[in-house]
């Protein structure tokens, strides 16, 4: 089996069901976007797939060995400089300090951090640079599955576009599978191969769409048209209605 297969997934906090009977599949090497109104359990689904919490019911099957998270808040250690933050995840391996740091250097270059920023502490970096550090930290452990929880929603529009292109490029270069949670349909349309729409709480799959256009062809016009087309689908529009 290649890719991710979620069957009848459910989870509840106390008596309150968060996710119910959610099923979808995501082929390896593609980018899926999980979209839905706030409170529909997107983050919970991501945590279950990444193994941070156990599924309440149903099953998650995949052959990925290294799932890794990128959160909305970059979650950098404030007392470590950018280099050591990127190398942090590698401490779970038996790599020595020198190797960890040189790997960190390479990844910081890959995500476009200038050498003079490598020794800076998080509070000395801008929001966009911090998110780049977080991305580099995630990639440093050589993951095969990227789980991204609204990683760009705290950034301004220009920065978000840069980071989106960077993400697509890295996914293509490194042959990754990625699942990105967002509440922004335009972002999903710009990035995703598969869009999975969750209904309001408790979350279940309301609709799913597949987009075949290459990333490079997705300009503003395309995004605008496609968003309108998706919203013409009653199930999608209803699920996202709370958002607008």
């Amino acid at each position: 089996m290649a890719g991710l297969e979620v069957t009848g997934l459910g989870h509840a906090f106390g008596p309150q069901p968060i996710v119910e009977d959610l099923s979808f599949s995501l082929p390896a090497g593609s980018l899926g976007c999980l979209i839905g109104p706030s409170g529909c359990g997107k983050t919970t689904v991501l945590s279950m797939i990444g193994g941070l919490i156990a599924p309440g019911s149903g099953r998650i099957d995949h052959a990925f060995r290294h799932p890794v998270f990128v959160f909305q808040d970059p979650c950098l250690l404030p007392w470590r400089d950018a280099r050591d933050n990127v190398a942090f995840g590698l401490k779970a391996t038996d790599m020595d300090r020198k190797t960890r740091r040189s790997r960190a250097e390479r990844l910081m270059e890959a995500v476009g951090l200038a050498p003079e920023d490598h020794g800076k502490f998080p509070h000395e970096l801008s929001g966009g640079m911090r998110q780049r550090v977080a991305l580099a930290r995630a990639l440093a452990v050589e993951p095969d599955l990227l789980l991204l929880d609204e990683p760009f929603s705290a950034l301004d529009v220009g920065l978000r576009r840069q980071m989106q292109s960077l993400l697509r490029r890295l996914i293509a270069e490194r042959d990754l599978t990625a699942l990105l949670v967002t509440h922004d349909l335009a972002e999903a349309v710009r990035l995703a191969d598969h869009i999975l729409v969750l209904s309001p709480s408790p979350g279940r799959l309301a609709a799913s769409h597949t987009l075949a256009e290459p990333f490079a062809a997705r300009d503003d016009g395309f995004v605008h048209c496609m968003v309108n087309r998706l919203l013409a689908d009653p199930a999608t529009a209803q699920a996202l209605a709370m958002e607008t």
């Binding site: 941070l52 959160f71 502490f121």
Partner: protein, 273 residues
């Protein structure tokens, strides 16, 4: 090597920073001298007489043993307070039950004046160093406790989640995530506690006659020798300043490198002439 040079330069910079502090202390000395001129030696001996007296007492071999005795009493109490306060505070921060159990006790202990503890300790232990160290322990432990509890309670949940998502080992979790955070709360508490422990020690020694600087002060009082009393005060102050600037401040700086200001920000002055 580059790093070593940078460190040496920073150390030199730090020592050079001592001039600013010296300037402030010398201005205080000027005020002291003016007070001496106004009120006479019996009330306020002159700075130079005081230093001379301290010098004479040191030459007579009285000062160094007293300082060592006082330091031993103070550090003994302080170290036990650090261990006890740190462990209990960490527990109180991590567990709600422990917080409910321990917080009121810590508040109560903080409210009891140190002088009351001195009296009780004298009754329990007699006029010995143990009485002094016990007083220090019981007065500084609540402060350390509060710092440790605060540090443990405010551990950032999202950082913990991030660390877990990378499946790093527990030692890394403690060393890279928990400890640096704890220290930023614990260290100020420790610094306050250490400074307090010296003052409490001198007071307890003065009342118990257990030797040390406090004992010297007691003798000076009996002899109505203001110069000697001031000389002992000078010795305590010197000790405190040494601990603060040679020990605490360098550690503080080392711990807070990550809070350094943005290069280029801060007060850039418009120049021109």
């Amino acid at each position: 090597m580059e790093e070593g040079r940078g460190r040496a330069l920073r150390a030199l910079d730090y020592m050079w920073g001592g001039w600013g502090a010296a300037s402030s202390l010398l201005l205080l000395t000027a005020l002291w001298e003016a007070g001496h001129a106004a009120y006479g030696t019996l009330v306020l001996p002159s700075p130079r007489d005081t230093v001379a007296s301290l010098w004479d007492m040191s030459a007579a071999g009285k000062v160094l043993p007293a300082i060592l005795e006082t330091s031993r009493n103070a550090l003994g109490g302080f170290l036990s307070a650090t261990v006890a306060g740190g462990i209990l505070g960490g527990m109180a921060g991590a567990s709600d039950m422990m917080r409910r159990l321990l917080q009121p006790i810590a508040t109560l202990l903080l409210g009891i004046p140190a002088i009351a503890w001195v009296v009780l300790a004298l009754l329990w232990f007699g006029g010995t160093g143990a009485a002094v160290s016990f007083t220090v322990l019981i007065t500084t432990a609540p402060i350390v406790f509060a710092g440790a509890a605060q540090g443990a309670r405010t551990l950032d949940g999202s950082l913990r989640r991030m660390a877990r998502s990378f499946r790093v080992p527990a030692t890394t979790l403690i060393r890279d995530v928990y400890l640096p955070h704890m220290l930023s709360y614990l260290f100020p508490a420790l610094a306050t506690g250490l400074a307090l422990s010296w003052k409490v020690t001198v007071m307890a020694e003065l009342l118990s006659g257990a030797g040390g600087i406090g004992d010297g002060l007691a003798v000076a009082r009996v002899q109505v020798d203001t110069v000697k009393a001031m000389a002992w005060v000078l010795a305590v102050v010197g000790l405190l300043l040494a601990v603060e600037y040679l020990m605490l401040e360098p550690i503080r700086r080392h711990l807070q490198v990550w809070r350094r200001e943005m290069p280029g920000s801060g007060d850039i002055q418009a120049g021109g002439f």
